[in-house]
């Protein structure tokens, strides 16, 4: 096997990287040989993506500690371009295609074949066509990316990475949005690359894929390397044990209370893509949630989960159809302020983009959605406001000197608590949580879970959206599964096994849900 050749293609030694309040990588070492698939596994927030961003030049040289060697030569990337020219191609988890450009334009973006500065369009499309052919992808390079499904977009992204004659290919959760046949296509591509001597780093949560593909497996946990071993010497149970480092069940609190009467219901919710008329992000979704109940919504990236919540909250840009009922009464919600008035709270995903004003204080952020109530209708009452903020801060155990600390200086977990506090101060009846624990450490996750449980036991109805399956399964009383905008499954807590939920989420439902 190529993995036994002498000099590694890539060596990363003692890599450290800190963000304000979090040490994301703490002395991680990693190597890769030519013609090898080296899997990198670990829980969300273990540092996998951060490590790959260091490798890809997203965090340029002085921003991290440690050494990167390629073929034994020390490298200090000043940026993405330099990493690329050293033969590193990274396919990131978030799609980075320009949707309004064609497939061909995207593949050669920034590296268009040109003569005297003029782009040779025929040449570009000829080469794009050849590349897609080689990967057995039946995609016309002149198609706008916007018209492709999310799985095909992912494959284009991979084609783009390969067009750069990469020696090292990093794939970050490449199959998250792929259908089964697309996954097969991808694996064939990877096998042919292996034969060509490309070294591949494969990041995935799906251990069956990891075991099928990889030569070696490295496990990361909390920013440290737990171990690297040949795949043939490992099995899934041992990898999982290394990933979590503890019993899986114990981070989720025990639930003892019973759910009460229904407080919130949506019927036949249909959400149109604001950019592509006629394309629907969510189709005919109906569900209800009861007092004290946690309703989990599972689904893959792009399944329409966030669009559904945005639409319910009156914050979707495109057309929305369907009925919303609060406490049995039909309501019309056209803006977030109306949603708040009806007692809905919405802990949005991506706290930095949608949740927080990073250069303002904890207090200003916490009271933003409830200012007239906690402070004053027109003239603010600084003392009352500070008292409300301090109480919320204590209740949620926000770790900061005081509520006048600037939010941007807090760790991710504490920032998330501030967003949660903001919505609790509006005294909601229904709380929507969209990816509430993304990018925060295990301890903070556990605290968020405990809060979710406490709030439910106090009678709040909670709708939880998460791409972390254990989280959805561990917290929810009931689980809905979305696939491409449709509900493809509904499970009670006891019936919700990872396998069953996953097969609904990927659209491979064996039997149509009887609930429909």
């Amino acid at each position: 096997m190529a993995a036994e050749s002498k000099q590694p293609l890539l060596e990363m030694r003692n890599i450290t990287k800190s963000f304000p309040g979090v040490r994301a990588l703490d002395g991680v070492s990693f190597d890769l040989y030519a013609g090898e698939v080296h899997a990198l596994v670990g829980e969300n927030g273990a540092g996998k993506s951060t490590l790959m961003k260091v490798l890809g030049g997203v965090y340029p040289h002085p921003e991290y500690g440690g050494e990167i060697l390629i073929n034994g030569e020390a490298q200090r990337f000043a940026g993405i371009r330099q990493a690329e020219s050293a033969g590193i191609a990274v396919v990131y988890q978030e799609l980075s295609l320009v949707k309004d450009m064609t497939v061909g334009e995207n593949i050669f973006l920034g590296r268009e074949p040109r003569r005297f500065g003029i782009i040779l369009w025929d040449e570009l499309y000829r080469r794009a066509h050849a590349l897609l052919d080689e990967l057995h992808l039946k995609i016309d390079p002149r198609t706008p990316v916007r018209n492709l499904g999310i799985g095909q977009q992912q494959l284009v992204e991979i084609a783009k990475a390969l067009s750069q004659t990469a020696r090292i290919l990093v794939l970050d959760e490449p199959t998250a949005a792929l259908t089964e046949s697309e996954v097969e296509t991808l694996f064939k591509i990877l096998d042919s690359l292996r034969a060509r001597g490309v070294g591949m780093i494969y990041i995935s949560h799906k251990l069956d894929e990891v075991f099928r593909l990889s030569d070696r497996i490295t496990v990361l946990r909390d920013g440290r390397t737990v171990g690297t071993d040949f795949t043939k010497n490992l099995d899934e149970a041992r990898v999982i044990a290394r990933m979590v480092g503890r019993e899986v069940g114990d981070i989720f609190p025990k639930r003892t209370h019973e759910a009460g009467a229904p407080v919130f219901e949506v019927r036949n919710m249909t959400v149109e893509d604001p950019n592509v008329p006629g394309k629907f992000l969510v189709k005919n979704v109906s569900f209800s949630v009861r007092r004290g109940e946690v309703l989990g919504i599972a689904g893959l990236m792009g399944a329409g989960r966030s669009d559904l919540l945005m639409a319910i909250f009156g914050a979707h840009a495109g057309r929305v159809r369907g009925q919303i009922f609060v406490e049995g009464k039909r309501v019309r919600i056209n803006s977030p302020s109306e949603a708040i008035r009806y007692g809905l709270g919405f802990v949005t995903e991506d706290r930095k983009r949608f949740g927080l004003i990073l250069d303002q204080t904890i207090l200003n952020n916490m009271t933003l959605a409830s200012l007239p109530h906690v402070s004053g209708r027109f003239v603010t009452n600084a003392d009352a406001e500070a008292a409300a903020g301090e109480r919320a801060s204590r209740e949620l155990r926000v770790k900061a000197n005081n509520v006048f600390t600037i939010v941007g200086t807090l760790s991710g977990g504490n920032q998330q608590k501030v967003v949660l506090a903001k919505w609790l101060l509006t005294k909601p009846r229904v709380l929507f949580l969209d990816e509430p624990t993304r990018g925060i450490d295990v301890g903070a996750k556990q605290e968020i879970y405990a809060q979710v449980n406490r709030l439910a036991s106090e009678g709040l109805a909670i709708v939880l959206v998460s791409s972390e399956l254990p989280e959805v399964l561990g917290l929810s009383d009931r689980v809905l599964v979305l696939h491409e905008g449709h509900i493809t499954g509904e499970f009670k807590r006891a019936e919700a096994t990872p396998e069953a939920v996953m097969s609904c989420a990927t659209g491979h439902v064996k039997e149509v849900s009887s609930k429909q």
């Binding site: 949740g355 004003i357 200003n364 933003l368 906690v374 027109f378 003239v379 603010t380 005081n402 005294k427």
Partner: protein, 405 residues
């Protein structure tokens, strides 16, 4: 609504002292921790003193004579009133390039009402302010509801309203004879009134500091030491007393300065002590987060444009009254002064940051520059180049500070 009352009833019943942020971005110099905002304020004050010294030297002390200071303050008033409005626009993440033209148009409307139509003071003022308000509302509506960037709306407005004033006045200067109108720009308040204002200002500084300190203690923040408390009260008090003394040693405090103080106090209250102000900073700081927190972005953007429209009319009044006539090119380039004043005073063009007090200091800086350069006989083109360069430099400093923070 009973739910609302319940929420309020839960809060401790205490009165409302200002609470200040404790952990603003800081710069460490040895053992000393200086908030970067404060550092900027010191830099501005230092720059102000520096140009005053230079102009004073260049003009054989004419610059610092009470007569010129009085003049300078009147110029500051026009820029300052605009800067207070511009600050709210900039904090919200918008921009208004049309204020110079609106100053010209509203001043022209007032003069036309007075001189051509023979109306009295009140109808003329009302007409001008209503015109300013409507123009602002139009800009705001086009920006917020038609989604045209404010930059384009007000760039267009700059030409449209300048064209309108040229058309209305038919290119002529319209003199205003009515003394009560001219008083707005030319009169002084009596010297004892000046002293009353000084005493009131000093008293409020002492009161604010004491209350601020007790509020800090109540929220478990470190209270200011006796020395720093003394410095915080004595220095501003001394500046105010000195300021009134200088103005009184000429003819008293000019009426435009009184107008500016009133506008600034209301502006500071609005931005710092109201939910409306808080929402403006939130919208500028992160529009997505603000919108999802239930804030009506469009309404607030409309509101700030209405405010700056009305304030442009106030500035137009002062300007016309000061000059005793309305000219078709009155107010030209005042938008540059107002924007520069905000930025020099610590506002960020990205939105979400800036204070009314800073904008007023910035206005004083820009007016000093205008006044001093004219007095020193610096050529017109050099003045333009200097001011343009200072604007770009100030924005550059802000961006530099942002990247590090």
């Amino acid at each position: 609504m009973s739910q609302t009352n319940e929420r309020v009833a839960n809060e401790p019943a205490v009165d409302r002292p200002p609470v200040m942020a404790d952990t603003a971005p800081q710069l460490r110099v040895g053992g000393l921790r200086i908030p970067t905002d404060a550092l900027r304020a010191y830099t501005l004050v230092f720059a102000l003193v520096a140009i005053w010294v230079i102009f004073s030297y260049k003009t054989n002390n004419i610059f610092l004579e009470p007569r010129n200071i009085s003049n300078l303050m009147r110029q500051t008033a026009v820029t300052g009133v605009l800067a207070v409005g511009m600050l709210m626009v900039i904090v919200t993440g918008q921009i208004d390039l049309s204020v110079g033209s609106v100053v010209g148009l509203t001043g022209g409307i007032a003069a036309i009402f007075l001189t051509w139509f023979g109306y009295g003071l009140v109808p003329a003022l009302a007409a001008a302010v209503v015109a300013g308000l409507l123009i602002g509302a139009l800009h705001g509506a086009l920006t917020a509801y038609a989604n045209i960037p404010a930059f384009i709306v007000t760039l267009g407005g700059m030409l449209v309203w300048r064209g309108a004033v040229k058309g209305l006045t038919q290119g002529n200067t319209i003199p205003v004879a009515l003394q009560s109108f001219r008083d707005i720009g030319q009169q002084y308040v009596s010297k004892p009134t000046g002293w009353v204002i000084a005493v009131a200002a000093v008293a409020s500084i002492v009161l604010l500091n004491v209350r601020r300190n007790s509020a800090r203690r109540r929220h478990g923040l470190q209270a200011a030491s006796a020395i720093s408390l003394a410095v915080r009260t004595i220095i501003p008090s001394a500046v105010i007393i000195g300021f009134i003394w200088v103005l009184n040693s000429y003819s008293g405090v000019p009426v435009p300065v009184i107008i500016l103080i009133a506008v600034a106090v209301v502006g500071a209250f609005l931005t710092e002590q109201t939910t409306f102000g808080r929402y403006l900073y939130a919208i500028g700081g992160n529009p997505d987060a603000a919108r999802l927190s239930g804030i009506n972005l469009r309404l607030h953007i409309l509101a700030v444009f209405c405010i700056i429209g009305a304030l442009a009319a106030v500035a137009g009044m002062i300007n016309t009254a000061r000059l005793g006539s309305a000219t078709p090119d009155a107010g030209t380039l005042l938008e540059l002064n107002a924007i520069a004043a905000c930025v020099i005073g610590g506002a960020s063009l990205v939105g979400g940051r800036g204070t009314v007090f800073g904008a007023c200091l910035g206005a004083l800086f820009m007016a000093s520059l205008d006044n001093g350069m004219s007095l020193a006989g610096i050529k017109d083109y050099v003045q333009d180049i200097t001011k343009g360069a200072i604007l770009v430099f100030a924005v550059g400093l802000d961006m530099l500070g942002r990247r590090k923070g």
